[in-house]
Each structure stands twice: as C-alpha cells, then as structure tokens.
C-alpha cells in the first residue's frame, strides 16, 4: 500500500532546470527582440524564425522521445517509461501548437496568405492531430497497462511522420523555405542571426526538459495517489 502521509513530492519544489530554462528563454527572447537586426527582404517578420524553428525542433524531439519511450515500454513494461512518453507527448503538443501559430503569422506578411495546403504545413497539422488524439486516447482508457500499450503504439506510429515532415521540402514542391542554417554549405545568415538562432534552440530545448520534468512529477504523484486509493 502506498503511504500518502509521506512527504510530498517534487510537484512542490522549484526545479533548478526550470530556473535555468527561464533565464535561457528570457535571454533568447531579449536577444532576438533587441540585439538581432531584422532581415532586409522580409523585415521584422523574419524574427519569427527564432521562435518558430526551435519550437519545431522541440516538437520533433518530444514526439521522438514519446515513440522511443513507448517502444521500450513494450519490452520492459516499466511505468517510468510510460510517464516519460505521456509527458513528452503533452509538451510536444504545446510546441507543435507554437509552430502552427507562428507559421501563419510569418506566412501572411511573407507569402501573402495565412495558410496553404503545402506538404510541410499539412503534415505538421496531421502530426498535431495524431498527438492530440494520443492524449485523448490516454484519457479514455482506465487500465494503466492497457493505456500504456495502446499509447505506445500510437506514439510510435505518429513519430513516423517526423522524417516525412523534415524531408517534405525536398520531396515535394513546397512553398516552405529550405533550411537556412543546417545546410552543407553553411548558414545563409550573418553570424549575429545564427547566434540568436542557436541560443533559441538551446533555450527551448531546456524549456522542454523543464516542462517534461515537471509533468513527470505530476504523473508520479497522480499514480501514487491512485495506488493509495486502490490499496486503501
């Protein structure tokens, strides 16, 4: 039986990773807003890149972690893996939402339209639907093991979209720009912009880690209380 009178959990402590992430994200926003010049052709709208591309990277990372944790859960049946998958998927949905909101805000001034059914945009929207579905699925299955098994399968299948999204700008005729930093011939931006770009990548990756750690702490506490309720 689980003891609910034991000292409560990580949900009440402030995580040092969260503090570092907060400083890093504030630095990234500050540098992008005040210390990085706008690009001559696109104007200030180009600065959307610094919140859009890192959010896309984190979304891919988050769903990749969900798929891997789910795959390992299928073999090991370790509840910690299921909590990691669940937490990472939820955080991934937040970052994919950021991608889907900031993309049209860049598209309107640069392309002249909020949205187009371009391969990369459409596949990213599908990715968002799949992982929202993943979270809904988790919410409607009461049994812990059955929930973890079904979620692992959906999490793995959903992540199969990620390489297609990444390669969509090469595989399909698309409006979406090709990579401007990760290119064999080097970044197509001046150093001041590249520095901001990598700072934002680092900051949002840290934010992902902080969010996932906090979300796992919630899942641990929820499972502890569920076990105590059943046991008592």
């Amino acid at each position: 039986m689980t003891d609910v009178s034991s000292p409560p959990p990580a949900t009440r402590r402030i995580d040092p990773v969260a503090l570092v992430a907060l400083v890093a994200v504030a630095s990234a926003y500050g540098r992008a807003i005040w210390f990085t010049p706008p690009e001559a052709t696109q104007g200030f709208a180009q600065k959307i890149l610094y919140v859009h591309a890192p959010a896309a990277w984190v979304a891919f990372l988050a769903f990749g972690v969900t798929a891997l944790a789910g795959a390992f859960w299928l073999f090991l049946k370790d509840q910690r893996l299921d909590r990691l998958a669940e937490s990472s998927a939820e955080v991934g949905v937040i970052f994919t939402t950021a991608v889907l909101v900031t993309g049209p805000l860049w598209g309107k001034p640069v392309w002249g339209t909020w949205w187009t059914w371009d391969a990369r945009l459409t596949l990213t929207l599908f990715l968002w639907f799949i992982y929202v579905g993943y979270l809904v699925l988790r919410g409607v299955i009461p049994g812990r093991e059955q929930r973890a098994r079904y979620a692992a399968v959906v999490g793995i299948l959903g992540a199969l979209l990620i390489p297609f999204i990444h390669l969509s700008v090469y595989l399909f005729r698309t409006l979406h720009p090709l990579p401007v930093v990760a290119r064999p011939e080097g970044p197509a931006m001046p150093a001041v912009m590249v520095t901001t770009f990598f700072l934002a990548f680092f900051a949002f990756t840290l934010l992902y880690v902080a969010f996932v750690r906090a979300r796992i702490a919630l899942a641990v506490e929820r499972d502890t209380l569920d076990d105590a309720a059943v046991g008592g």
């Binding site: 959307i48 950021a98 969010f211 209380l225």
Partner: protein
Amino acid sequence: MPDNALYYRLAYVATLVLYVGYTISLVVRARALARRRQRQRDGRA
C-alpha cells in the same frame, strides 16, 4: 524593408502566452493533486 513588425510581435506574444499558460496548467494540476493528497490523508486519519 517591409513594415510587418506587428506579425512578429504577435508571434512572440502568442508563444509566450502558450508557454506561460502551460506552466500555469502544471501549477494548477500540482495544487489539485496536493488537495487530493490532503483529502486522502484526512480520510485515513
């Protein structure tokens, strides 16, 4: 240079709202779990 700063400001505000909103949701859920823990503890006393 085109005058489109409004879109970039909107994008930055939108992402901040999302991340702060998610942080608040984590805090709200942690508090709900703390209340649940308290109720379960009281129920056993």
